[in-house]
Amino acid sequence: MADHAPAAGHAHEEHPTWSTYWKVALFLTIITAVEVSAYYIPAWETSWVYVPSMLIMSAVKFFVVVMYYMHLKYDHKLFRSLFTGPLMVAMLTLIGLLFLFSKLAIKIGLLA
């Protein structure tokens, strides 16, 4: 009665190759270089676009490392939930705390 169906959970059926790895490394390097350059370009650094662009670039780097180097793209879906859940709770807590300490604010009409 032993069920010998191939284990669905066994990762490594899809495997990134050396090609993927060095491309990811190059991509990370380029984004980092762009980030650091932005710091030194006054027009960018002083504009309102600076902080969002920085956050987006870091988020992209984060995402790429997690999906490719940490394999989440190729692994069992369980790991995606196991990571995303806590990550969401962490992000929401951080954002909540920033609001509570007046580091972030939303202007809604007459309310500050």
């Binding site: 009665m1 180097y69 940490m70």
Partner: protein, 237 residues
């Protein structure tokens, strides 16, 4: 039929393993066919997200709230002594150390691949280089130590320039946040050296891929936390 035999059992042979699919190292049954250690490390990483989120939150909450300098991005003159403190953070050096840490993740990924593909025949020199787990574990460790060296240099120069963990809120939150991160890197380096020792002793076989994988996951996570810290602490004024 008594209640104790109501749930039907798969086999009468009484063996604890080999009686179900998804048999894993040691042959124990698992519900999902995954290695328990991998599930545990991801859970640990989830927990660490909250740890670093709290540390980063505190840094951001206290940003700009130190009544006295030195400050990260601005010059400050001590009103009592007249001493001038230039902005403490050194972006060029930290950019270099960030790059070093990112490259260590590449080395780590190659080390894991080398262990997984140990028995794949290698023909070209390029393949042989890529396939050496010892080489890539060494590279990861050295790059990690390189990062720590840059941190050590940074910290000591900050202290020389007048910023210690006790000086002000910036000092306390900065050194605690980056110190915790550095401690995690250090633990990772020790872990990787242990794997290297095993590799020298008996060679890391494809069956060992999981223990290398969990070390790798930890290592990449520590890198990813640094991505967040570098942006939030260094690049955003």
């Amino acid at each position: 039929m008594t209640a104790t035999t109501a749930p039907t059992t798969a086999h009468g042979d009484g063996h604890s393993h080999g009686d179900a699919p998804h048999a894993h190292g040691g042959g124990h049954y698992t519900s999902l066919g995954l290695d328990s250690r991998k599930i545990a490390i991801w859970t640990f990483i989830g927990s660490e997200c909250m740890l670093f989120a709290s540390l980063i939150s505190t840094y951001l909450i206290y940003k700009g709230r130190s009544p006295e300098g030195p400050f990260p991005h601005e010059t400050w003159t001590n009103p009592m002594t007249g001493e001038v403190f230039k902005p403490i953070l050194n972006i060029p050096v930290t950019s270099a150390s960030t790059f070093v840490l990112l490259m260590s993740s590449l080395a780590m990924v190659l080390a894991l691949a080398a262990v997984q593909n140990r028995h794949v025949p290698k023909v070209t020199t390029g393949q042989k280089i890529l396939g050496s787990s010892k080489l890539w574990l060494w590279m990861t460790c050295l790059l990690g130590i390189g990062f720590l060296g840059c941190q050590a240099y940074e910290f000591t120069s900050f202290i020389h320039e007048g910023l210690t963990i006790r000086t002000n809120l910036f000092g306390s939150s900065f050194f605690t946040l980056t110190g915790f991160h550095g401690a995690h890197v250090t633990a990772g380096v020790i872990w990787l050296f242990t794997l290297l020792a095993i590799d020298y002793k008996r060679g890391l076989q494809p069956e060992d891929a999981t223990i290398v994988d969990i070390a790798a996951l930890y290592w990449h996570f520590v890198d990813v936390v640094w991505i967040a810290i570098f942006t939030l602490v260094y690049l955003i004024k």
